[in-house]
């Protein structure tokens, strides 16, 4: 088993996969706490479907590097969804449902009509569930992923206290001069970036798991925002690492294996959380 791992890690694409996987897992866990607490868990899901639609468009247009276009479309949708979250006729969750189902349908339709590939269902399946795509990453995509991940982490650290305040009490933050709307916008853009990144790893249907599970697990165990954020980042990185290694050894799809490990971690945290502590 160990020999198999050593053998695999001699190939550069396996190392790429591991690096990208860990970076993406780190990013996606950071904002999870905020999303869960703001009752925005489904924004991630909606946006990932948008990213799927965007990817279909990029595929149809035969772009060599699809990420910039997908990123642009997803960011725009994130901003629009967040705007509609405030006073509009169509309420937030309905808007998310609409956009998410709509783009899923349009994406599949486009791929069906224009696809030149002989293995259409294979293409769609790997976009939705990630399957082996992480092992076919080009060095350019890896570099882009790494750069974006680092930017996301830096922005998160710099705005950590503001993100906390806007999550905990938006009205108070606004009233005391924090530009809550600007930070909400920032959160939306970061989420969009994370989702496009994570699509390479777990596919568009499973992204929400990467965002939500570590946060929920950490919230079982810790009681301050800082500890929860830190713990969810650590849990997410460990789960991604374990998931990728297991998928290499057992030959399972990368995305669903990572999500499986995340679920196990949640179950474990849940159990630990139910044990009463004498503090």
């Amino acid at each position: 088993m160990i020999e198999k791992l050593i053998l695999y890690f001699q190939y550069p694409f396996v190392c790429y996969a591991l690096i990208v996987g860990i970076l993406i897992a780190l990013c996606s866990s950071l904002l999870g706490v905020t999303l869960v607490l703001k009752r925005f868990s489904f924004i991630g899901d909606g946006l990932s479907h948008v990213a799927f639609g965007a990817l279909a468009i990029a595929t149809v247009m035969n772009l060599t590097n699809q990420m910039p276009l997908v990123l642009a479309i997803t960011v725009i949708c994130a901003i629009l969804l967040l705007r509609t979250g405030q006073d509009t006729k169509i309420k937030g969750d309905a808007a998310i449902a609409m956009v998410s189902v709509g783009s899923l349908a349009v994406g599949y339709l486009l791929m069906n009509i224009f696809s030149k590939s002989s293995n259409l269902s294979g293409d769609v399946c790997s976009t939705l569930f990630g399957s082996t795509s992480i092992l076919t990453l080009t060095p350019l995509t890896v570099a882009l992923c790494a750069a974006l991940s680092v930017i996301v982490v830096i922005i998160f650290v710099l705005f950590y206290h503001k993100i906390f305040a806007v999550t905990f009490d938006e009205d108070f933050a606004t009233a005391t001069g924090v530009k809550a709307n600007a930070y909400n916008l920032l959160i939306a853009v970061i989420i969009a970036v994370i989702i496009v990144l994570a699509m390479n790893l777990v596919g568009s249907l499973l992204i929400s798991a990467l965002v939500i599970f570590p946060a929920l697990s950490a919230m079982r165990l810790f009681k301050s925002f800082k500890a929860v954020t830190f713990c969810s980042a650590v849990l997410s990185v460990i789960s991604a690492f374990v998931g990728i290694v297991v998928s290499i050894i057992a030959g399972t799809p990368v995305g669903s294996t990572i999500v499986g490990v995340d679920m196990l971690a949640f179950a474990l945290c849940y159990l630990i959380g139910t044990v009463p502590r004498n503090a």
């Binding site: 607490l37 650290v157 905990f168 933050a173 925002f225």
Partner: protein
């Protein structure tokens, strides 16, 4: 010197007017209680003063060196906060954020100020505890400490005792009165007309006809009577 003057305010949303021709002023050191029925526009008034929404017409002028963003605010609790993992210290420190601008981290002065306000509210021993595990009265004191971090001169309190038991209610009122004696101007929304008359120096009664004046003037007007009767009927 007036800290805040409301001139011919009209409040409401979606173009529908709830309150019209609202005129009042708050002097430094006042304790103004805003009373009135549910839906009369008390919370809307407070949000307008804080700049969270704009008035339909009229204006709010701040004076005496008070900026709009320097008004401390004790909001009604939201659903989100009930299961929020945050320590007491984190919540109180977030009151200092307004003055930070683009600076990303807290300075030593911010932490010192948060510590002082924690002590003032008797929360020092709880500072590492989780906010959602505290009692209602303790949570309100945490939010009050946070408001004090944001403001030195004036506090706006939106139903500060709602959901508290009688003992915690009494403690909360005493705490607010003590802050007022220290020179902090208070504006409090309340259902509780008796508390308003016990602790307040001025009354703003929002109803079909708006009353504004000192407590003594209020007691001699007919307005107090109508609210009491209204309250008894509810």
């Amino acid at each position: 010197m007036s800290l805040l003057i409301a001139e011919d305010l009209a409040l409401g949303y979606d173009g529908r007017i709830i309150v019209d021709h609202l005129n009042f002023h708050i002097e430094s050191g006042d304790y103004l209680c805003v009373v009135g029925e549910n839906g009369s526009g008390k919370t809307t008034l407070m949000k307008t003063i804080l700049g969270l929404r704009s008035p339909l017409s009229g204006k709010i002028i701040t004076g005496g060196g008070l900026k709009q963003t320097e008004i401390g605010y004790l909001p009604q609790q939201t659903q989100i906060q009930r299961d929020f993992p945050a320590s007491v210290r984190e919540v109180v420190l977030s009151g200092c954020l307004g003055k930070m601008g683009m600076r990303p981290f807290y300075r030593r002065e911010d932490k010192k100020k948060a510590g002082e306000n924690l002590a003032k509210m008797g929360l020092t021993s709880l500072s590492k505890r989780c906010y959602r595990e505290l009692s209602g009265g303790q949570q309100q004191r945490v939010l009050l400490a946070r408001a004090l971090c944001a403001a030195q001169k004036m506090l706006l309190l939106d139903e500060p005792v709602s959901g508290l038991d009688p003992k915690a209610t009494e403690e909360m009122y005493e705490l607010i009165a003590a802050l007022n004696r220290e020179g902090i101007t208070i504006m409090m929304i309340s259902h509780d007309i008796d508390a308003a008359l016990t602790y307040g120096s001025h009354i703003l009664h929002i109803a079909d006809s708006v009353f504004f004046g000192s407590k003594e003037e209020y007691l001699h007007s007919g307005a107090a009577l109508t609210l009491r009767e209204g309250g008894a009927n509810r």
